[in-house]
């Protein structure tokens, strides 16, 4: 696995905070001074691959990191940005949540030109999306691992049969 972000996490480069599942880091390539990133310690290439519990922890941490940069850097605002997929500008093959401190006239352009859509186009899209939101709002259960117990038993049996075999 050749992920430079994973390497940076492993080598603890520029990490300011870390839990079992996530880390907060100063990126090597930044949008603005004080830009911090929140990421899963485990390698996930896109947002959809990240388990719900980790996403939840990332957003909770991002909220607090936002407050921290506000206080520490005299920021007047913050942006949260996830570039999910190369079409959205994703540069590294690892999910990254950006916390970007902002000041008036800092020269950072995070705007878009709004498009005009007519009623029919909007309604078509509304229906398409509504049709597929059945699984939204349902949080994944954490996966359990019952397999381990079985393995332990098998090992025990081997040991017993082996010791039986030794008896002359």
């Amino acid at each position: 696995m050749n992920c430079e972000v994973c390497d940076r996490i492993k080598n603890k480069k520029g990490i300011v905070y870390s839990t079992e599942k996530i880390s907060v880091m100063i990126p090597e390539n930044a949008f603005t001074p004080g830009h911090l990133i929140v990421l899963p310690n485990e390698h996930f290439p896109i947002l959809e691959a990240v388990p719900d519990k980790i996403i939840s922890e990332m957003f909770t941490a991002a909220n607090k990191v936002g407050v921290a940069v506000f206080e520490a850097l005299g920021a007047q605002g913050t942006n949260i940005l996830i570039q999910n997929g190369t079409a959205a500008g994703q540069e590294k093959p690892h999910v990254i949540l950006h916390v970007i401190p902002r000041k008036e006239n800092d020269g950072l352009n995070l705007q878009w030109a709004p498009k005009q859509m007519n009623e029919e186009e909007m309604s078509t899209i509304e229906l398409k999306i509504k049709d597929q939101v059945g699984s939204v709002g349902i949080i994944e259960e954490e996966k359990k691992e019952p397999v381990e117990e079985k393995e332990v038993e098998e090992v025990k049996e081997d040991y017993l049969t082996k010791s039986l075999e030794r008896i002359p």
Binding site: G14, V16, Y17, V24, I26, E28, N29, F31, P33, G34, L47, E48, V50, I55, S56, F59, T60, A61, N63, K64, V65, G66, A68, V69, A72, L73, Q76, G77, N79, I80, L81, I82, Q83, N84, T86, A87, A88, G89, Q90, P101, R102, N109, L110, Q111, W112, A113, P114, K115, Q116, M117, M122, S123, I125, E126, I129, K130, Q132, V133, V136, G137
Partner: protein, 207 residues
């Protein structure tokens, strides 16, 4: 959050267009709703299918939100992103939040933007990156360390700067006998050292 009287809350909700939408008083194209959040289509979208995900409760900016709700909104954002990829054949999604006018916040109600993206589209939100030096990274780390520790409850301290004989800067002074574990350079002290990074230090000292 301050406690408001029912009358004050009602007044606040009347003055906020997104609360009005959540309360069903103003029409909107709702694509998802549950007891905590509401997702509607933006009428001036960056791309067709641009979703605004809002808490039903009136919350102006992210720091006002409790951990559980922001965590939940993160999960729903991921799930809605997945829906956009599937239903609109989007090739990617942008998840975006603006806290404060300086960050581009235009409405007084917190929202997460979930925007479907296509290769080469003109929806922007792709800021340019500038490469940081090790020194810059250390300065940022020193600048945010205390605040991160206070807000998150824990933080990893910045590494001490190694004495580099090649540099013109004087090495750190060490008072003999008085080792103060945990004493960190303040941002002001690091600014005094020869540093070509004007914008970084200005940020750190709040200029």
């Amino acid at each position: 959050m301050e406690e408001l009287t029912p009358e004050q809350q009602a007044q606040m909700r009347q003055q906020c267009i997104f609360c009005q939408i959540a309360d069903g008083k103003v029409a909107a194209k709702k694509v998802y709703e549950d007891d905590k959040v509401l997702a509607v289509l933006d009428i001036n979208p960056a791309n067709p299918g641009h979703i605004l995900l809002l808490p039903k409760e009136h919350i102006a900016i992210m720091p006002q939100m409790d951990d559980e709700l922001i965590g939940y909104m993160g999960i729903v954002s991921k799930q809605l992103s997945q829906v956009l990829l599937r239903t609109l054949q989007a090739q990617g999604t942008t998840i975006f939040v603006a806290n404060g006018v300086a960050a581009g916040q235009r409405a007084p109600h917190f929202m997460i933007h979930i925007i479907p993206r296509m290769e080469g589209d003109d929806a922007g939100l792709k800021p340019l990156e500038k490469k940081y030096s090790e020194e810059q990274i250390l300065q940022i780390h020193q600048g945010v360390y205390e605040a991160i520790k206070r807000v998150l409850g824990d933080a990893i301290p910045p590494e001490k700067q190694p004495i580099n004989l090649d540099q013109k800067e004087t090495p750190k002074e060490e008072k003999p006998g008085t080792k103060e574990p945990g004493k960190k350079e303040t941002p002001k002290e690091s600014k005094k050292k020869a540093s070509p990074l004007d914008d970084v230090s200005k940020f750190l000292t709040g200029q």
